[in-house]
Amino acid sequence: MITRDELAELERSPRTRTRVVLDRLVCALPLAAGALVLVQYYFVPNHGGNVITEQYAIFIAFFMALLFVALFASLFSNAVFRRLRFKAPFYTLVFCIFLGWDYLTLKTGILILPFFPWPDRILNAMTGDADMLLDCVKNSLILLFSGYFLGSGAGLLTGIACGVNKKFDYWISPVMKILGPIPSVTWLPIIVVLASSLFSGSVFLIALGVWYPVTLSTLTGISNIRKIYFEVAQTLGAGGRQLIFRVAVPSALPNIFQGLTQGMSVACTTLLVAEMMGVKSGLGWYITWQKSWAEFAKMYSAIILICLTFMVVNQTLSLLRKRILRWREGMTQ
């Protein structure tokens, strides 16, 4: 028996010698671009009185070191090589963006301060205010997940209830059709007045925003199940609750995950709006606060953190989906 890896290797189309050499070169391309960034950073004179620190160099060098390790490993492992070959052009682009950014701000001043700080300044802002920023990340995540879990839980319950019970559907569907499409932040002014605390009000808003897509997708998933699965299950002795949790829910999972992903993006938007408009903590609040002091570097560092945080959250969600929907591997694109 051959392993999966060997199989993949066998089924790949053969490559010519030049092709092989070219592939290796492409793998080294990001390193070259990174070196270029460092060369420009240190050897091209700065515009005006711009000063630079070591931090940016360390930052760039860190990623170059990682890439170097990968490049070295790719000589011995086919899997690493393929992965690196796949990602290399993208990494190269990222370094080139840094290169251009430095050039436009730090080196030539075409884009001016305070609106356009260069990466080194943002890095310094980030490390300088690290405690505060981490606290903000923590608070944002707490708010985000409180609302998200509440909303997706409620959405699952409503979706399942409407999917399996016609009477429930009769009463809930119209409510959903009317209220659902309204972006949940619309209610913010009312929530500010009514909620006992801004935190619980924001949790409610996020939950509301998540609830709608999750309910809708669960409902769609359940109503699209082929009738024959219920019939098979029934003739095999499943009844009532088993039909819901062993047939309806598992086969609706692909749809449900669609709703959960969509719900997450709604939750992120709602979170930021809530933090920028009312809540006195979290990254959204930090951004408005720093903007009022014209601390643009700090503002950008918060934006970058938001980006990273949401990326991690979404990545986790998609890993979870892959794991749970493993049965669809090879069945869908």
């Binding site: 082929r226 024959i228 699965y229 019939e231 098979v232 299950a233 029934q234 003739t235 095999l236 002795g237 499943a238 009844g239 088993q242 062993r246 047939v247 598992p250 086969s251 999972l253 049965w327 669809r328 591997e329 090879g330 069945m331």
Partner: protein, 255 residues
């Protein structure tokens, strides 16, 4: 000759008619018309008939998935209402649950009914018998059509229904595997003695397995003739008696 076991159900169809509404035009299809059949406990009935003559419909009625327009169906004197594991149906297409592995598919019934622990061993053996043990952990879309059919067969069989309904269960198999599976079916039926009704397109298979063969005519679906196969099991496909039955049935079918 009947099966030795004694756990088969007594099935009676009493002037059963089934009419379907059609969505395309304001018309109806008369799928089954005035079917009366008495199937004694433990009997193996083969049903043959042209495509579209209502064979699947009849099995669905017995399984309790549809209800008759007119007439009654009785199992051991009680009217059939709704699906129940005592009437197990192997569907014409395998309809395995795509989100469950083969093992989780074939153990679905016992899992739902809380008999998983006692049945585990037996199910393992059955998978072995039909040559699927190697694919226990595969998902249905990774199986061939014939393998999926065998898995579906096991899935219903492990539930030990009083009435075992088979809708062309061996349709997707090659001639060789098919003959092997026929013998396995026969073995299991003789061990367990459940009343079995099998729809098939293969007249030879019908004669090889059934105590009797019911020939249906189409549109409306009616029982054309019920032929008792008076041959000892295991039957010899080349014996004169066997060939006589086969040509007789083919004649009724108009071939």
């Amino acid at each position: 000759m009947r099966a030795e076991g004694g756990r088969g159900g007594h099935l009676v169809m009493d002037h059963v008619t089934k009419i379907f509404a059609r969505s395309d035009l304001n018309a109806t299809t008369n799928a089954l018309d005035d079917i009366s059949l008495d199937v004694p406990p433990g009997e193996f009935v083969s049903i043959v008939g042209r495509s579209g003559c209502g064979k699947s419909t009849l099995l669905r009625l017995i399984a309790g998935l549809d209800s008759p327009t007119k007439g009654r169906l009785l199992l051991d004197g009680k009217e059939i209402r709704g699906a129940a594991p005592s009437r197990g149906l192997v569907f014409q297409n395998p309809a395995l649950f795509p989100w469950r592995t083969i093992w989780d598919n074939v153990t679905f019934g016992p899992q739902m009914r809380g008999t998983y622990r006692e049945k585990k061993e037996e199910i393992s053996q059955l998978l072995d018998v039909v040559g699927l043990s190697e694919f226990k952990n595969s998902y249905p879309h990774q199986l061939s059509g014939g393998m999926a059919q065998r898995a579906a067969l096991i899935r219903t069989m492990v539930n030990e229904p009083d009435v075992f309904l088979l809708d062309e269960p061996l349709g997707a198999l090659d001639a060789f595997t098919r003959m092997k599976m026929q013998d396995e079916l026969l073995n299991l039926w003789r061990q367990r003695g459940n009343t079995t009704i099998m729809v098939t397109h293969d007249v030879e298979e019908a004669v090889y397995l059934g105590n009797c063969v019911v020939v249906m005519s189409s549109r409306p679906g009616r029982v054309r003739e019920r032929i008792v196969i008076d041959l000892e099991y295991p039957r010899n496909r080349n014996s004169a008696g066997f060939i006589d039955y086969r040509s007789h049935i083919l004649e009724i079918l108009g071939l």
